[in-house]
Symmetry: C4
């Protein structure tokens, strides 16, 4: 045994320990105690910061306020490093070909997304934004904290248990929106061709009115049109309140069952 071999063996052993530690830290999105590892929290924070940076970057008046070019280089380096380390931690290799087969199935998706993100960052393409967003969504999916997972299951169960009523109420909402649009098209189509000149155009009014958003870009001007719009608006409140009411009642029911015993 030479000192070199021993030293090499020590390095290898040390690297192996580090690798195992990183693998555990990266994989530990959801411990039994409902927390993420510190490493994952850091990665999550950088993703959030890069997301905010990408959002602000689009604002013309702020484009000279921050050194976005250096921030992007920094994010590109960070995500590249994360990609290489994750690849190495889970497969022991630094390059993709041949390593993919060794990957656990649930890590492959993250890595593939990582690769796309990195390639976009490196390419400095400005519209990479959506991909980073997808990545965040993925993290949310993985962030299966027990309490949130239970809440999600309750939500899904609530929707599922009332799927019939929800479908009916949505059909009601669609019908009233449709009828309202047809009515206003027939009443005001010739007077305001830009606003009600076709049923799709009248549907834009219908959505804006029955959701009570009411931008005010489109509204009836004739007496008959106003009467019809008033009736549809008043009826629409009830119909639009239906799905929310059913959903809330389903949740009450569900949560009552869950927390009762």
């Amino acid at each position: 045994m030479t000192t070199g071999t021993v030293l090499g063996g020590g390095v290898v052993r040390k690297l192996s320990v580090i690798r195992r530690y990183i693998r555990r830290a990266l994989g530990d999105f959801s411990g039994n105690d409902g927390t993420m590892s510190f490493l994952n929290k850091c990665i999550f924070a950088v993703i959030a910061v890069s997301l905010i940076s990408a959002v602000i970057e689009t604002e013309p008046t702020l484009q000279n306020a921050l050194p976005f070019i250096w921030l992007n280089v920094g994010f590109a380096l960070f995500f590249s490093a994360e990609f290489v380390i994750r690849l190495w931690a889970f497969t022991g290799r630094y390059h993709i070909d041949g390593a993919i087969k060794r990957l656990p199935p649930d890590v492959r998706g993250i890595l593939a997304l990582d690769l796309v993100v990195v390639s976009f960052w490196v390419g400095s393409v400005s519209e990479i934004f959506l991909l980073r967003f997808l990545r965040l969504v993925l993290l949310i999916r993985l962030m299966e904290v027990p309490v949130i997972a239970a809440a999600l299951r309750d939500l899904a169960a609530a929707v599922y248990s009332r799927r019939g009523e929800l479908a009916v109420s949505l059909i009601f909402a669609a019908i009233i929106m449709f009828v309202a649009a047809v009515a206003l098209y027939l009443i005001e189509g010739r007077i305001q061709p830009d606003a009600f000149g076709s049923i799709p155009r009248a549907l834009w009014w219908g959505v804006a009115t029955l959701t009570t958003v009411g931008y005010g870009d489109v509204f009836p001007v004739t007496a008959l049109g106003k009467c019809a719009a008033a009736i549809f608006a008043l009826a629409g409140i009830g119909v639009v309140a239906l799905p929310a009411g059913i959903f809330a009642s389903a949740l009450v029911d569900r949560l009552g069952k869950t927390s009762a015993p």
Copy 2:
């Protein structure tokens, strides 16, 4: 027995089998398993497509995008064929006179509607739209899938069980809307004659405000008018929330009773 007669008898027998099959398929809107027959699904799909086509057809900027004239001819042929087949399947005849008496009562309505639809399609009249819509509504009525039927019964029972409270809350809503309109008419009627110059005009403002649609075409400009409008808007939220709250509570109650045992 000649071969011709045998052949003729075979054709008749085959036709009779087909007729029975079609009759069963057309009549089978709601099986015990809550599904429509494949034939009805196809008819329903064509109705939906023709509906969407008729909606898009009204849009001036898209009128050259699709060969609507050929689509309309196609729909006219399809619905004519459906009419003739349905008539034959249920009565054994291809023409209307004399066949109607043989029709089962619940098929007559569909056929009458079919006839109107076909005549309008053939006439290429553009406003036939509403009739096709009625037809869709009829289909929805017939689509008595068990789970939806139960949901509808629950909805109706919920409304019925709280009819007193719902009536009271609707009376409250009407009164506050009326009082708001009268108040703004008295306060702003002379300053904004176009917007508040009469009580019906002020009612348009009242509906737009208390449903929280708020188009922004009409709003008070004086200090007193703004104070009054603010008070009515704040009070209106509660009053408009009343019917929805009562309705939701009725549903909770009803669904709790239904699913409990």
Copy 3:
């Protein structure tokens, strides 16, 4: 006994029967079976028609569409006659002085209102409107149909049982509206003096935003103002949903208790 006296006695007796019948019919707003007498229904209908007529009368473009002058004369005669008949039916006299003391206390209010209404109708004053409205409100008060009365008691009991929570949620709503107005006044007061130049002006924006009416006559234009407005709008949804939610839950609770046993 002369025939005259006998005839006179017969007339008096007949009048006495009619008077008793009218008194019963006028007083019978709410029988045990929850219905109004036919006479009261007629009076109610005329009041409704006169109300609608008075509403339409204010519309300048419709003022020549109906002979409002003759309608008003008709309503004046009707209400005058009703007043005289009611006075006679309850007191046996046709003129007011001396008769008032004989009136049952709960009829006096109606008659006083009647007198004002009649005097206004006769005077052809156009703004009498509000008084007729008050009369309708009075009728609604008297229309104590059992089911509606029970519903009203439930509503009142629901509000009373949660008065603490409702007060707290209303205080929350007032505070957030106040803070929002002050914030926007400080942020945008100098940039948009017309819209946010004072706290009362900013409160108009606050009410329009937090009730989600959003007329669009007033909105922040600076980046900071938009950020603040967005945060207040998002927070305001929850706060505005609070009273309605508490109210609905109180009703659920109340109605559950009422209908359970």
Copy 4:
């Protein structure tokens, strides 16, 4: 014993009684019977009046309507007197240095705020407003009327018991708002650079739409943008209804548990 000494002793004794009485009255924000002392009610009323005065003072058109300068001098004197009396009542001294150590801990905060308020009033600074508001908030905090305190505890417990579901629903709301803004930024960014030229700008639209405020200063104009906006508006209703529904259901649950036994 001279009469002077006796008289002096009597004055001291009387002052001591008054001091004790004032101390009790000032400290008695929440008796066991849930009421404030008369003295505290008076102070509260003056604070409310000074608050309203400060609000109205900001309105340019009303600045000559009331003698605000004398009102402010009056409020300054009142709050100065209150400060000195409170200091004396709790410590027996009229000046701050040395007295603070003697103060009960829960009175120090009020006095410190009082001092700031007084200094601002005396300085006649117009923006002191927020501080007075803080003072009102403090009073609300102290106004621990049993029924309101219980309601607040119920509210807090309701939020806490559903913190998981509320967090999930808020995350959903943030995601849909974010996705909507990105979509409209991609679709309409080049056509309406002022409205959708950056993601932060599009977020302003997203907040205005999904809260259903709908000012109408920003809305999509292209067909694709309108389609996307309609879908997001319809989906947003459900998502925005989620937290309110969960919150209401939590309250129902909580209040049911509290009032049941």
